[in-house]
C-alpha cells in the first residue's frame, strides 16, 4: 500500500502544470496579508475553509437574579466541531455556510455513567454585503443575514422515566433563526476597532424534544426568545500575529411553548415560560496568526463575566450554561 501511495504521489507531482483548472484566477481580488487590513468580507473569487473546534466546560449557570450558581456534582462538556465555508461571490458580497457537529458529555451524580453523545448540530448559512469600504486605512461596513436551520438531533430518545433517563442529547432547538446585523471595522495603523450589532429572530416550531404529557407521544410547539447582540473588539497587529480582545453583550426574551393555532402565525398563542429571559456579558480574546495569505491559525477564548438566566434544559442554543469556551480554527483559503 505504501508503495502504491508513493507512486500515486509521483504521478500527481509529474503533472502539476496540467492541473490548470486550480490555478489562481486573474479575476480573484487581492487579499491583504495581515488581519488588521482585511475587510469584513472575503473578496471576490476567494474560497475559504475553516476547520475549527470549540470546547466549553461548564460547571454552573447564572441564576435568575444574576448570581453565579455552581452545580454540585455536574460537569457539562460541550464541544462544537465546525467547518465554515466562505465564498466571495462578487467584490461586495460573500456567502458562507457553517456545518457543525457536537460532542457532549454530561457527568452527573444522579447517573452511574456519564451521558455522552455525538451528532449533527444546526448548520448556519448567511450572506454579507459590504455597503462601504475604503482602503489604507481600511474601513469596512457590512450588513449581514444569517439563517440557522434546525437540522441537528432534536429527539431525546427514550424519555419515559424523566430527564435523567434520556438516551440522546438534544443538539437543536428544532426551530429556525434569522439574524440581521451590521458590522463595521476601522483601521488605525496597526490597530483595528470592530463593532457589531444584530437582532436574532427566533421562529416557533414543533420540536421533537418538547413532548406533551397527556398521551406522551405528541410534540409541542416552542419558541426560543428573540435575541439582541452587540459586540466590540480591538485588534492589534504585531507582525504576522494579531491579538484582539473585546466583549459581547447578549439579551434574550423569554421562552414560549404550547400548541399551534390556525392562521399564518401558528405560534401566536404560546405561553411564556416566566423568568426564562436573560442576558449575558462575556469577554472574548483572540490570537490570529497570518501564516500566509492562504492559511491562518485562530485561537480564542470566551469568558463569562455577568449574566442572568433560568436554566431548565441543557440546550446551549436555548439556555446557555456558564463556562469558559476555548476555540481553535485553521483557515485555508484558495
Amino acid at each position: 500500500m505504501t508503495r502504491k501511495l508513493i507512486l500515486l504521489g509521483l504521478v500527481v507531482a509529474s503533472q502539476p502544470a496540467l492541473a490548470g483548472g486550480f490555478e489562481a484566477k486573474t479575476s480573484r481580488e487581492t487579499l491583504a496579508a495581515r488581519e488588521v487590513e482585511r475587510p469584513l468580507i472575503l473578496g471576490k473569487g476567494w474560497l475559504e475553509f475553516g476547520l475549527g473546534t470549540d470546547v466549553k466546560v461548564a460547571t454552573g449557570e447564572w441564576s435568575p437574579a444574576g448570581e453565579p450558581v455552581d452545580w454540585t456534582d455536574t460537569t457539562w462538556l460541550y464541544t462544537t466541531e465546525s467547518v465554515r465555508v466562505r465564498y466571495g461571490i462578487t467584490r461586495r458580497d460573500e456567502l458562507y455556510w457553517d456545518f457543525n457537529t457536537h460532542y457532549v458529555k454530561l457527568t452527573n451524580g444522579n447517573t452511574d455513567e456519564p451521558l455522552t453523545d455525538f451528532g449533527l448540530g444546526d448548520p448556519h448559512f448567511g450572506y454579507r454585503y459590504e455597503v462601504f469600504r475604503s482602503r489604507a486605512p481600511l474601513t469596512s461596513i457590512v450588513v449581514l443575514a444569517d439563517y440557522k436551520a434546525p437540522l441537528g438531533n432534536e429527539a431525546p430518545g427514550n424519555y419515559v422515566g424523566g430527564p435523567y433517563t434520556f438516551s440522546r442529547v438534544v443538539m437543536s432547538t428544532g426551530t429556525p433563526d434569522v439574524t440581521l446585523g451590521v458590522r463595521g471595522k476601522r483601521q488605525f495603523g496597526p490597530v483595528a476597532l470592530t463593532l457589531g450589532a444584530a437582532y436574532v429572530r427566533r421562529f416557533s416550531g414543533i420540536a421533537q424534544w418538547a413532548i406533551e404529557t397527556e398521551y406522551n407521544q405528541f410534540n409541542a410547539r416552542v419558541k426560543p426568545g428573540d435575541e439582541r447582540v452587540v459586540d466590540g473588539s480591538l485588534l492589534v497587529q504585531l507582525g504576522p500575529v494579531a491579538l484582539d480582545g473585546g466583549a459581547v453583550l447578549r439579551t434574550r426574551d423569554a421562552f414560549k411553548y404550547g400548541n399551534s393555532v390556525e392562521g399564518p402565525q401558528p405560534g401566536a398563542e404560546l405561553k411564556t415560560w416566566e423568568g426564562s429571559d436573560g442576558w449575558s456579558l462575556d469577554s472574548v480574546f483572540g490570537l490570529t496568526f497570518n501564516a500566509t495569505r492562504g492559511v491562518d491559525l485562530v485561537l480564542g477564548a470566551r469568558v463569562p463575566l455577568r449574566g442572568e438566566d433560568l436554566q431548565f434544559w441543557p440546550l446551549e442554543d436555548v439556555q446557555p450554561t456558564r463556562g469558559n469556551t476555548y476555540s481553535g480554527t485553521v483557515e485555508f483559503r484558495y
Partner: protein, 1174 residues
C-alpha cells in the same frame, strides 16, 4: 403510537432509480465516448492544447483512423500569437492557462467555451455551413480566436466570481387547504448582452489581427439591413430575442461586430472592451447600462444611430448597383413571388400583413438551398436543400424564370412532376450528376442509410463515428397505376417502418463509394468513370480522384498544412480540374491535370474566388467579390478574359450554365439562400479584367506559396500524453431553497452544487449539498472512457416534517367539541446508491442498465437512532427514444415523440422493528418479497392535422397548434408495499426543473402522489397553441418573448390489490388494517373494469387550462412562468392526509377499511410558477 403509513412522500422518494442511472451533466460536446483514441497535450506558455490520435492505425484496419497533431500544433502557434493582442485590449492579462481541446471525431463544426472553466473546445474540421456564413476559411482564427475572445472578455466582464456561475434562489409553497401551489425561482447571474458577447468576440478577434470583416459578413448585414430584418433593440440583448427565424443567430454576431466598428469610429478602439471592465465593478440587473457609463450615451440612442448609419450606407451601395443595372433574375418558384408585386394593390396586400407573416412567407420558399446542378444532358436540374437533394426534370422552354411565361405544356409539366425525386444528403458540400446515367453522386454520411431502422425506426450507432462519405444514387423509375392510366414515376413506395412512414429505396439503387470517408464536394468526370472530390484530414483538405466503385484512388494534391480547398469541377474534356485553394490568407482558382500534374493558379489576387464551374462553352464561371459583393463572373480559359455576369446587391454563388446558356445560381437574401435563374439575354456581360489578375500570374510566387509548409515541429518537445489529472476549475452554484411540508412548517435550506471534470471529459464529478431542516446530499461520478458511460451515484435525503392529528373522544367525526388536535414531528430519510451505465445509440435513442440499492426509514421523538423501514435492491434496464427532447423546455414543443420504457426486478424487505418487520398492504402482510415492474411513458406531440387541407386547420398548423397525447402504462406483478407502488397526481415543476415534466398535464387535478397502485393506466390529451409568439416586451431586466396556452385533460386510474370484504376472511392488525387469512383471497383489481378501492373510482378525470409566459432575466437566465388551473372531477380517498389540510383523521374508520376517513372533494387546483418553467 399513531401509525402514519407513509403519509409523507417527498420528492426524493419518487426520484426513480433509472433517473439516477443517467448523468446529472451530459457531455458538453462529445455525443459519444471514444475509447479508441489516445489523447495528447501540448503545453505552451499560456495554453494547454489537448488533441486525439487513433490508437490503431489505418494499416491496422482502423477505417476511422484520425490524427489531430497538425491542427493541435497550429492551434498552439495561433494561440500564443493571439494571447497578447487579445489580453491587451482589455488590459486583462490572464494568469491562468487556458485549455484548448481540439476535436476531430466528427465532421461538424464546434466552437465552444466555458470561460470560468478555462476551457475551449474547437473542431479541427470546420465542417458545414461555416464558410458560407463567414467567408474564406481561417478556421483557427475564426473559431479559436473567437472563443478565446470570449474567455478574456467574459472573465474581464465577470461581476460574479468564476467559481460560481450564479446564485439560485427559489421556493415552493404548497397550500394543501386551498390547493394552491406557488413556486418562484431566480438564477442570478452575469447578464451580458448577446450582441456584445458574440459580436464583440468577432470584433476583438479582428483587432487582434486574426479575423476580419469579410464580404460574407458584409453580405449578411447588408441584406439584413436592406430587407428590414435587423434585430430590434430589445431583441439583440438575449438569444431568446429572435432566434426562431432564419439566420437570426448569425445576426447577433454580425450586428454586434458592425456595432463595434461603429463605436470604434465614435469612441475609439477601447470602448467595446471597456464595457467589460465597467460591468465587473458591480453586478447590475441590466448589463446594457454599462454602455452609457462608459461612453456617455445610452444604449438605445446608440443603437438607433448605428442603425441609421448602416442603413444609409447600404442604401447608397444599392443605388450604385442599380445605377449600373441590377442583374439578378428571379427565384425559381414557377411564378412571381407575392413580394415581387407589380401594382399598388398587390403591394398593399403584401404590406398589410404583419411583419412576422411576411418574414415567414419569404422564408417558406427555402432558406438553405445550395449548389444547384444541371445534368450534362440538360434533362435534370437539382438543388441541395437542407440535407435533401431535390431533382427536377428540366425543360428549359418550360422554365418560367428563363422564359418569362408560365409552362405551356400541362402534359410535360405533369410528367416533370412525376419524374422529380429527392435523395438524402449531408447538409451541404456538394453533389453531381453522373454523365450518361440517371444517377448522382452526393456527399452523405456513413450511417445515412442504416439498416437498423427497418424494424424499430431507431438507427443504431456502434462506434460514434458518422463521417462524411460519398454515395451513388440511381434514379430508377417504376410504373404506377392510377385508375385506368399507367405512369412512369420516381415516386417511391412507402411502408410503415418502425414508427414512421418511410420511403423504400429500391435494392441496389444506392451504395456508398468505398474509401471516400471524410470526402465531400464530388464532381464526376465527363466520361462518368471517376469522381473528383475533397478529402479532409487533420485540418487540411486534399484533392482526390477515385473510380465510382471505390478503386484506383489518386491524391492529386498532398497538402499537410491546413490548406482548405473548395468545389472541384472537371473540364469538359476531362483532362483538367478547376478548384479553389485557400492558403496564406488568399483564395484563388487553380487548375490541375487529372493525373495530378501542372497545378497552376488561374487567378492571383486578393479576392475570394470560389464555386468554379467549368462549362462546355470553355468558360469557367465562378463567384467573387472584387467590389465587396459576390457576383458571378466568367473566365475565358482561352484568353484569360473575365466578364461579369450578374450584378446583384445580395450575393451570387455556385453558378451552373444550362445547355441553352442560361444561368442557375444560389442567391443570398435576408430570408435565406435561394435558387435563382437568369436568362442569358439578361447577363450583364461586361468586361471585368481590371478587377482580377488572370494574366500576370507570378508562377514562382505561386509555387512558393503552394509548397510552403509551416514548421511546427518544435511543439513536439512540449507534447506529452494526456493525463486525467488535468482537471478543470470546479464550478459551483450556491442554492437557497424555501419549501414547506405543512401549512406552518416552512424550511429554508442552502447549499450548492459543484461540477468537476477533466478537460477531455473522461471523468466527471457532480456533487450537490443542500443543508437545512430538509437535507439533500448527492454525489455522482461518471466515467466516459468506455463506450457506455458508467455512473456511480449516491444520494441521501432526509426531511423533518410536522403532522397534525385529530383525536376524537367519541370517534364520531360529526361531533367536534370532543376533538383535539395534536401535532407530531418526525423524520424520514432515504439512502440510495446506484451503479449504472448508459449508451446513446444516436441522438434520439439511449439505453441503460442499472442496479440500485435503497434504504429508507424514520426517526421519531423516542427513537435513539434512525430506524430502517425498507431495504431494497433493484436492477433494471431502460430505453428512451426522443426526437424532440431538445425543445421540451420550450413553451410549445410542436412535434415529436418521447418514449420511455423501464423494466426492473426488485428485492424488497420491510424491516421496521416497530411493525415487527412487516407491513400490511392491501390485506396482506408483507415482509421480504420480489417483484417485477414495467413502465412505459409515451408522449406524442402532433402538429395540428389539416384533415385534407381545411384552411383553418392549415393556418393552425402553420402557427404550431399542437395536439399532445400522453400515455402512461405500468404494471407490478404482485402486491407490494405502498412505497413500491406507482404514484400519480399533479406536479409542480419547481421540484423537477424546467421542462423536466414531459409533459406536465398528467392528473394535475389531483394532489401530488395522492394516487397509488400496482397498475397504472393514464391517458392525457392536450391542445396547445401560441397566443402571442413574438411579443418582444422588455421591462427592466425581464424580457418576454411569447405566451402559449394549453387546454387538456386526463383520464385513467391506478389499480391495486383488494383485501377481502367478508369479515370471515380477514382479521385486523392492531392498527385496524385488514389482513386476509389466506393471501390468495387478496384479489388484483382489473384495470378499467374494477373500481379502484384505494380511491373509490373506476376512472378518474380532470381538465385543465394553462398559460405559459416565455421570458428571460438578465439577458440569459431563463425565467419561464405559468399559471395552471386544473379541475379534478372525482372524489378520491387514500392514505393519511388525503385532503391536504395537514391533519390526519384518526377517528374510527367510517368506511371500515384501513384508508383515511378523509376525502379530497372534486375541485380546482392551482399551480403558479414564476420563473420555474413548466
Amino acid at each position: 403510537m399513531v401509525r402514519t403509513k407513509n403519509t409523507l412522500f417527498a420528492a426524493g422518494a419518487v426520484l426513480g432509480v433509472s433517473m439516477l442511472a443517467r448523468p446529472a451533466e451530459a457531455k458538453f460536446v462529445f455525443a459519444y465516448n471514444h475509447p479508441d483514441l489516445q489523447w495528447y497535450s501540448i503545453e505552451t506558455e499560456h495554453f494547454v492544447i489537448h488533441y486525439p490520435v487513433s490508437k490503431k492505425t489505418k494499416d491496422e484496419g482502423n477505417e476511422h483512423y484520425l490524427t489531430t497533431e497538425y491542427s493541435a500544433r497550429k492551434a498552439a502557434e495561433v494561440a500564443e500569437q493571439m494571447w497578447e493582442p487579445m489580453c491587451s485590449q482589455f488590459n486583462y492579462y490572464l494568469k491562468e492557462r487556458i485549455h484548448i481541446v481540439m476535436l476531430n471525431q466528427s465532421d461538424d463544426l464546434e466552437g465552444f467555451t466555458i470561460p470560468s472553466w478555462d476551457w475551449i473546445e474547437v473542431s479541427a474540421n470546420p465542417g458545414g455551413t461555416f464558410y458560407r456564413s463567414r467567408g474564406r476559411m481561417e478556421w483557427f482564427s475564426d473559431v479559436l480566436v473567437h472563443e478565446f475572445a470570449h474567455v478574456v472578455s467574459l472573465k474581464a466582464n465577470a461581476a460574479h466570481a468564476e467559481g460560481a456561475m450564479g446564485v439560485e434562489i427559489g421556493g415552493l409553497y404548497q397550500d394543501g387547504i386551498h390547493d394552491v401551489d406557488t413556486g418562484a425561482q431566480f438564477f442570478i447571474m452575469d447578464g451580458d448582452s448577446v450582441f456584445w458577447t458574440e459580436g464583440g468576440a468577432e470584433y476583438w478577434s479582428d483587432n487582434a489581427g486574426y479575423n476580419w470583416w469579410t464580404a460574407s459578413r458584409d453580405q449578411n448585414i447588408r441584406m439584413t439591413t436592406l430587407q428590414d430584418r435587423l434585430l430590434g433593440y430589445n431583441e439583440w440583448h438575449s438569444r431568446a430575442g429572435k432566434s426562431r427565424f432564419w439566420n437570426d443567430h448569425e445576426r447577433y454576431y454580425q450586428q454586434g461586430y458592425s456595432f463595434g466598428q461603429y463605436l470604434r469610429q465614435r469612441f475609439g478602439d477601447q470602448a467595446y472592451a471597456q464595457f467589460a471592465l465597467e460591468y465587473a465593478k458591480r453586478w447590475r440587473p441590466q448589463w446594457e447600462t454599462v454602455i452609457e457609463d462608459v461612453v456617455g450615451v445610452d444604449a438605445e440612442t446608440l443603437y438607433w444611430d448605428w442603425r441609421n448609419y448602416i442603413t444609409e450606407r447600404y442604401q447608397r451601395q444599392y443605388e450604385k448597383v442599380k445605377d449600373r443595372g441590377e442583374v439578378v433574375g428571379h427565384e425559381v418558384l414557377g411564378k412571381r413571388a407575392d413580394w415581387e408585386f407589380s401594382d399598388p394593390a398587390a403591394r398593399d396586400d403584401w404590406l398589410k400583413q404583419p411583419r412576422w407573416k411576411r418574414e415567414k412567407a419569404q422564408e417558406k420558399t427555402g432558406t438553405y438551398q445550395w449548389e444547384p446542378r444541371i445534368s450534362p444532358d440538360g434533362r435534370y436540374w437539382g438543388v441541395l436543400n437542407r440535407a435533401d437533394i431535390k431533382i427536377h426534370r428540366m425543360d428549359e422552354d418550360q422554365m418560367f424564370e428563363w422564359t418569362g411565361h408560365a409552362p405551356q405544356d400541362p402534359k410535360r409539366a405533369d410528367e416533370s412532376r412525376r419524374l422529380s425525386t429527392h435523395f438524402p444528403a449531408d447538409f451541404e458540400h456538394g453533389w453531381d450528376f453522373i454523365p450518361g446515367r440517371d444517377a448522382i453522386v452526393l456527399t452523405g454520411r456513413e450511417d445515412m442509410m442504416h439498416r437498423g431502422e427497418a424494424v424499430t425506426g431507431i438507427r443504431f450507432e456502434k462506434d460514434g463515428y458518422n463521417w462524411k462519405q460519398l454515395w451513388v444514387f440511381e434514379m430508377p423509375t417504376r410504373e404506377k397505376k392510377e385508375g385506368n392510366r399507367t405512369f412512369e414515376t420516381r415516386e417511391r413506395k412507402r411502408v410503415l417502418k418502425g414508427l414512421n412512414n418511410h420511403e423504400v429505396y429500391p435494392k441496389g439503387s444506392y451504395h456508398a463509394i468505398p474509401n471516400t470517408q471524410r470526402g465531400s464536394d464530388p464532381s464526376v468526370s465527363p466520361d462518368g468513370e471517376r469522381v473528383a472530390y475533397l478529402e479532409y484530414t487533420d485540418g487540411t483538405m486534399n484533392l482526390v480522384t477515385i473510380k465510382l466503385d471505390g478503386t484506383d484512388k489518386k491524391y492529386l494534391t498532398h497538402f499537410k498544412s491546413g490548406e482548405w480547398l473548395q468545389t472541384p469541377d472537371w473540364s469538359p474534356d476531362g483532362k483538367k480540374i478547376v478548384f479553389a485553394i485557400f492558403k496564406n490568407h488568399q483564395q484563388n482558382l487553380y487548375t490541375i491535370n487529372a493525373d495530378g500534374t501542372d497545378l497552376r493558379a488561374i487567378t492571383w489576387d486578393h479576392w475570394e474566388e470560389l464555386d468554379a464551374h467549368w462549362d462546355e462553352d470553355g468558360g469557367i464561371y465562378f463567384s467573387a467579390e472584387p467590389d465587396g459583393i459576390f457576383n458571378i463572373y466568367r473566365y475565358d480559359t482561352g484568353t484569360g478574359e473575365v466578364r461579369q455576369i450578374t450584378n446583384v446587391i445580395g450575393g451570387a454563388f455556385t453558378p451552373q450554365i444550362s445547355p441553352e446558356g442560361n444561368l442557375l445560381y444560389t442567391y443570398y437574401t435576408a430570408f435565406g439562400w435561394k435558387v435563382y435563374a437568369l436568362p442569358k439575354e439578361e447577363f450583364l456581360n461586361l468586361p471585368a479584367d481590371a478587377l482580377f489578375n488572370t494574366k500576370d500570374i507570378p508562377a514562382d510566387e505561386v509555387a512558393r506559396t503552394i509548397a510552403y509548409e509551416e514548421d511546427l515541429s518544435h511543439w513536439a518537445e512540449s507534447t506529452k500524453k494526456y493525463s486525467s489529472t488535468s482537471l478543470m476549475a470546479p464550478t459551483g452554484v450556491p442554492m437557497i431553497r424555501l419549501e414547506n411540508d405543512s401549512r406552518s412548517n416552512v424550511s429554508l435550506s442552502a447549499g450548492f452544487y459543484i461540477f468537476l471534470q477533466d478537460y477531455v471529459e473522461k471523468h466527471g464529478l457532480y456533487l450537490m449539498s443542500l443543508l437545512g431542516e430538509d437535507t439533500l446530499l448527492m454525489g455522482q461520478y461518471f466515467y466516459q472512457g468506455w463506450y457506455p458511460t458508467l455512473l456511480a451515484t449516491a444520494y441521501h435525503y432526509e426531511v423533518k416534517y410536522d403532522a397534525g392529528y385529530i383525536l376524537d373522544q367519541d370517534e364520531d367525526p360529526n361531533t367536534t367539541d370532543d376533538q383535539q388536535i395534536f401535532e407530531i414531528k418526525n423524520q424520514q430519510y432515504y439512502n440510495i446508491a446506484n451503479l449504472g451505465g448508459y449508451y446513446p445509440w444516436n441522438a434520439d435513442f439511449s439505453t441503460g442498465v442499472y442496479v440500485s440499492g435503497m434504504e429508507a426509514g424514520f426517526k421519531g421523538t423516542s427513537d435513539d437512532r434512525w430506524k430502517r423501514y425498507l431495504e431494497e435492491v433493484e436492477a433494471g434496464v431502460w430505453g428512451e427514444f426522443s426526437n424532440n427532447s431538445w425543445f421540451y423546455g420550450s413553451a410549445n414543443p410542436w412535434f415529436g415523440r418521447t418514449v420511455n420504457l423501464t423494466l426492473s426486478h426488485a428485492w424488497s424487505d420491510i424491516v421496521y422493528a416497530d411493525y415487527g418487520g412487516v407491513a400490511v398492504d392491501d390485506g396482506q402482510e408483507l415482509d421480504a418479497y420480489q417483484y417485477n415492474k414495467a413502465e412505459m411513458r409515451w408522449t406524442e406531440d402532433i402538429p395540428m392535422p389539416t384533415l385534407g387541407g381545411i384552411p383553418v386547420l392549415q393556418t393552425a398548423q402553420q402557427k404550431h397548434h399542437t395536439i399532445q397525447v400522453d400515455l402512461r402504462l405500468g404494471a407490478i406483478d404482485r402486491n407490494v408495499d405502498v412505497w413500491d407502488e406507482f404514484r400519480a397526481g399533479g406536479q409542480h415543476p419547481y421540484y423537477w426543473g424546467s421542462g423536466a415534466l414531459r409533459p406536465n398535464t398528467q392528473f394535475a387535478g389531483y394532489p401530488a402522489y395522492s394516487l397509488s397502485g400496482e397498475t397504472i393506466g393514464i391517458l392525457g390529451l392536450a391542445y396547445r397553441f401560441p397566443v402571442a409568439n413574438w411579443i418582444n416586451w422588455k421591462v427592466g431586466p425581464l424580457y418576454t418573448t411569447g405566451i402559449t396556452a394549453q387546454f387538456g385533460g386526463t383520464a385513467g386510474n391506478l389499480w391495486s390489490f383488494r383485501p377481502p370484504s367478508d369479515p370471515s376472511q380477514y382479521y385486523r392488525s392492531r392498527y385496524g388494517e385488514r389482513i386476509a387469512y389466506d393471501p390468495g383471497a387478496v384479489r388484483r383489481e382489473i384495470p378499467f373494469v374494477d373500481k379502484a378501492y384505494k380511491n373509490g373510482n373506476y376512472l378518474l378525470y380532470d381538465a385543465q387550462a394553462e398559460l405559459r409566459v416565455s421570458s428571460v432575466l438578465f439577458n440569459g437566465s431563463g425565467w419561464d412562468s405559468f399559471l395552471r388551473v386544473a379541475y379534478g372531477f372525482n372524489e378520491i380517498r387514500g392514505y393519511g392526509d388525503v385532503n391536504g389540510d395537514d391533519l390526519y383523521d384518526t377517528s374510527e374508520n367510517a368506511y371500515n377499511d384501513e384508508l383515511s376517513n378523509e376525502t379530497e372533494k372534486p375541485g380546482f387546483r392551482v399551480y403558479i410558477g414564476l420563473g420555474t418553467g413548466w
